[in-house]
Amino acid sequence: MQELTNMIREVARDLLKQKSVDLIIGFAQGTMPLCSTPCFVRQDDEVDRLIWDSFCENNLAKYLVKRSNKIAIVAKGCDTRAVVELIKENQISRDQIVIIGIPCQGMVDRRLVESALNGKEIQEAEEMNGELIIKGKIFEKVLNRDEFLCLSCKTCTHRNPVIYDILVGDPVTEIDTKPYLDVAKFEALTPEEQGEYFSREFAKCIRCYACRNACPLCYCQECFVDSSKPQWIGKTTNASDTAIFHIMRAFHLAGRCVECGACERACPMGVDIRKLNRKLSKDVKERFDYEAGLSLEQVAPLSTFQPDDSEDFMLHP
């Protein structure tokens, strides 16, 4: 990891010195252990703030929208997929950004580590050869990092950057995940069981919209939840309004969600937000043979059509 950190700093320093970019978006050490934080570097004497470790979980593509200067972005597989979608949706132009691609080994979920320690306070965390060394006041624990990966990293199919200008580090082997096995399992349940599961999940929601704010592809000037003319849904935690908020939030990402899991990690209440997004990703893949963020050329599935699209969902009297 230290090697990658050094390489990122070197690349960043060169880019700023040559004035090929005005801004570098990367990660810096956070104020708490197990928590790296997004960082914006503009001067070449600041590049030593940049780091790379197993806690760089945020999707930095979020910070690309509405910028006019030239930017370099440190990007994992999922970040690059979000960048591809943003380019396709004309939120940023390709020649405006330099993508520093980093093959990703999966990021560690802080909450999983915390729950493995039964609430003991973590004061320091180090990583070495695939192990996390967690230190507190009166304890030290060694954990296998691969057991504590974020849920989205466990189902990730594109750990390597799909698009980049500079690649830092060696490509990693993609994990052979059974695609959408979880979705297929849930589809097999009865409507009652499905409804019950989602009512339970949605009941936790406090409508803080952290999921929306963390999502790299939620950039509408006026979100449907904020709109008052028309007011599509109520603003309270009424069960029906909350359910419709979640359904429509997911639906607005149909064929666009890159499954970075930023929504779920941002959620303070632990709502299973990805469940809806993954269902849509599966449907989009099966129906329209499209995966978000993999190609700059392929047209977004809901911006196009085929005359012979399947009508299996329709009534044919």
């Binding site: 499905q194 409804g195 599509w232 009534l315």
Partner: protein, 144 residues
Amino acid sequence: MMAESKDWQPKIVAFLCNWCSYAGADLAGISRIQYPTNVRVIRVPCSGRINPFFILASLQHGIDGVLISGCHPGECHYLTGNYSARRKFALLKSLLEYTGLEEGRIQFSWISASEGVKFAKVIAEVTEKIKTLGPAKKLVKNPS
């Protein structure tokens, strides 16, 4: 509950496109074809005009079933509106059913301006289906 009494009748909203399905309904009317009176028609410019929120808002306000109908593929007045709608609603229906909405609560069909008979048949079929499903409970806001 009153809603589940024997003479309960479902409330169904039909979003019909102006150019085909609405004209189809009109033809059914002037041809004096009988069909169930459970349906409330809302005329929209095109099936592509229908925002998923229309469907969700209907369910939220106590509608028991929603029918969406537009021109047959290739016959859209705006050339491709119904093709876009088809992709959109394939995903929406699947997503809603994934969250536990009963299969058949929302229905989609193509009805042309000359298909008055088909319009009556579709309405009869949808009404029958919603009757077997009973009153909608999912997504209803402030159920009585």
